[in-house]
């Protein structure tokens, strides 16, 4: 039966081509949109994910990591007094203007962190060293944003809020979800750049590191008790909050997911149409099979095998195209993630999509009256 399915498919090459174009289009759409969604999930809160902190202390109801009013440093001492707290660092994430050599201004997000602990700092440093950030007015940016920020090499000097900003290194692959790149520097420098309009004794966040082996939830409760007027979140909670804000509250993630769903609908409709048309075209053959004594099950085998073959071939083409697009998007601002799980999942989805699209054809085949074979 598989052979009949295979031969029937290749017998009508035009229809096969139409089917495959539909499947490939749908699957590429799904892969690209879902890949965008995954990378949104990743970039939207990458700074939090990699912060290394156990707890974040923020002003109440701060929806995401990039915002929030200043906190008094007094809270730092309160938190430090909690048993099990190893250290508490002041932290800044705030928008500031970056002036290019041309005089143009780009908005950037300055990340001011404690160089001694490294909590909330850069990772994947590919040029220079975080130690160099101890120098006055020094900053580090990501390679991806070299063009945007007019940066070419270490040692160049720019202006942030009318203060010098000297490039001492580059990171690789630290994307910002917004159009404003991250600029890493020491907490002190960030304060000098006017980030968050902080007074000398303020911070936007406090990052808490617990002693080794400490129970996270208990620690959170203990710190919360010391600063009842503030929010104390675990790193995972802060991560989730930030992700939810950027990906869902702004609609960016929903849009990509809708794109993926749209791809699925397009795929099902196109495949259902062509498989149904093929079934109708071969109705006399199916009638003959039935007359010869084939059960309905054997007929379904043919239809499902046709669907599975189409799905498999469409998938092979689609995954190649998607991999190509993903590769091409690596250096850009909207990378498309294509992890193996998604590639494998999409194969199952492709098969399910094509098989699902066969349902109406199967119903049609069930109703074929074998007596038709004797009629003109």
């Amino acid at each position: 039966m598989f052979k009949l399915a295979w031969k029937n498919l290749f017998h009508d090459r035009v229809r096969l081509a139409v089917t495959l174009v539909g499947i490939v289009f749908a699957l590429v759409l799904i892969l690209v949109q879902f890949g965008l969604f995954l990378s949104f999930l990743d970039t939207s809160a990458n700074i939090v994910e990699r912060s290394g902190a156990d707890l974040w202390i923020t002003a109440p109801k701060v929806p995401y990591v990039n915002g929030g009013p200043p906190l008094s440093e007094a809270n730092r001492w309160k938190a430090l007094a909690v048993e099990g707290v190893e250290r508490v660092d002041r932290y800044i994430l705030a928008w500031v203007p970056w002036k290019l050599k041309s005089g143009a201004i780009e908005s950037v997000q300055v990340v001011g962190y404690n160089l001694d602990s490294g909590l909330g700092g850069p990772w994947n440093v590919v040029a220079g060293s975080v130690e160099d950030l101890r120098g006055e007015d020094t900053v580090m940016v990501d390679e991806i944003y070299k063009d945007l920020l007019g940066v070419t090499h270490i040692g160049q000097v720019f202006e942030i809020s009318n203060r010098r900003a000297r490039i001492v290194g580059f990171t690789r692959g630290i994307r910002s979800f917004t159009t404003a790149p991250f600029v890493f520097c020491s907490f002190k420098n960030a304060q000098n750049y006017g980030a968050g309009n902080l007074r000398e004794d303020q911070a936007v966040y406090l990052l808490v590191k617990g002693k080794a082996g400490i129970a996270l939830e208990a620690l959170r409760a203990a710190v919360q008790a010391k600063v009842p007027e503030l929010d104390v979140l675990t790193n995972a909670e802060m991560h989730g909050r930030t992700q939810t804000h950027w990906v869902f509250a702004t609609g960016a993630g929903i849009t990509t997911l809708m794109g993926a769903v749209l791809g699925l609908i397009v795929g099902v409709v196109v495949v259902a149409q062509t498989i149904y048309a093929a079934t109708v075209d071969h109705i006399r053959e199916f009638g003959t099979l039935k007359a010869m004594g084939a059960s309905n099950g054997r007929i379904y085998e043919v239809i499902l095998a046709q669907a599975a073959i189409s799905g498999g071939m469409g998938y092979a083409v689609a995954i190649a195209i998607a991999a190509f697009i993903a590769r091409g998007s690596e250096g850009g601002n909207a990378p498309i993630a294509l992890p193996p799980e998604v590639a494998a999942g999409t194969l199952l989805l492709a098969l399910a999509m094509c098989m699902g699209a066969s349902v109406i054809s199967i119903r049609k085949a069930t109703r074929i009256d074998p007596a038709m074979v004797f009629r003109g």
Binding site: K3, H11, E285, T288, K290, S295, G376
Partner: protein, 229 residues
């Protein structure tokens, strides 16, 4: 082989009823070549369909090798067809995407034969219908007579005891029609298969053991013939 008693088949219902078969009694003996003749609309195709378990009777009895099939559940019928019958159609009904050999193989595989055995058996059958050189030809490359010979090979695949053919020569010119009938009846006799052929063609009657004429859904005449050979 086949025993039909008091068979009725009514299409439609209410005012639109058509009594296609109205009390048919007929026996088909093992190995005989029986030809069904009659005017158009007399119920020949209907009778063949009911005999072949493709269509269900309205009432009456149909026994295939002693087994009553008239009351059998719908989903049991494919198995009966598979086991007892080979079919030949006026329009050939070959699978256009399959070669001659693959068309025959498909029938063999339906009957449970596997891979290389099915392949060899299909080739042997095609050889017997004189198509040894057309194994890999597609139906579109064959003449009508050749197509019907592929269909004969397919109908004989898996050694069904009964072959049913509905106007197998109607779409052929008379010469290839005769050839087809000669091959069909010759092979059936050699292999001891019963054949029931619906036909309009008087010239093929020479190949019959028995001729049954029907009109208005009833058997009106039976005539035994001397075998040609």
């Amino acid at each position: 082989m086949i025993e039909i008693r008091d068979l009725y088949k009514t299409y439609g219902s209410g005012g639109a009823e058509v009594h296609a078969l109205a009390g048919v009694d007929l026996d088909v003996a093992a190995g005989e070549v029986l030809m069904l003749m009659g005017p158009s609309g007399s119920g020949k195709t209907t009778l063949l369909s009911v005999m072949g378990c493709i269509l269900r009777a309205t009432s009456g009895s149909v026994k295939i090798e002693g087994r009553e099939v008239a009351r059998m559940a719908e989903n049991k019928l494919p198995e009966v067809r598979l086991k007892h019958f080979g079919f030949i159609f006026q329009g050939f009904n070959l699978f256009p995407a399959l070669t001659a050999r693959e068309n025959v193989e498909l029938a063999l595989k339906l009957k449970g034969l596997k891979g290389t055995r099915a392949k060899a058996e299909a080739a042997a059958l095609l050889e017997q219908v004189g198509l040894a050189d057309k194994l890999n030809a597609f139906p579109s490359d064959l003449s009508g007579g050749q197509k019907q010979r592929v269909a004969i090979a397919r109908a004989l695949a898996g050694e069904p005891p009964i072959v049913l053919a509905d106007e197998p020569t109607a779409a052929l010119d008379s010469q290839s029609g005769l050839t087809v009938m000669e091959i069909l009846t010759g092979l059936a006799r050699k292999r001891g298969r019963a054949v029931v052929v619906v036909t309009h063609d008087n010239r093929v009657l020479q190949y019959a053991d028995r001729i049954v004429r029907i009109a208005d859904g009833r058997v009106v005449d039976e005539e035994d013939r001397e075998r040609a050979a």
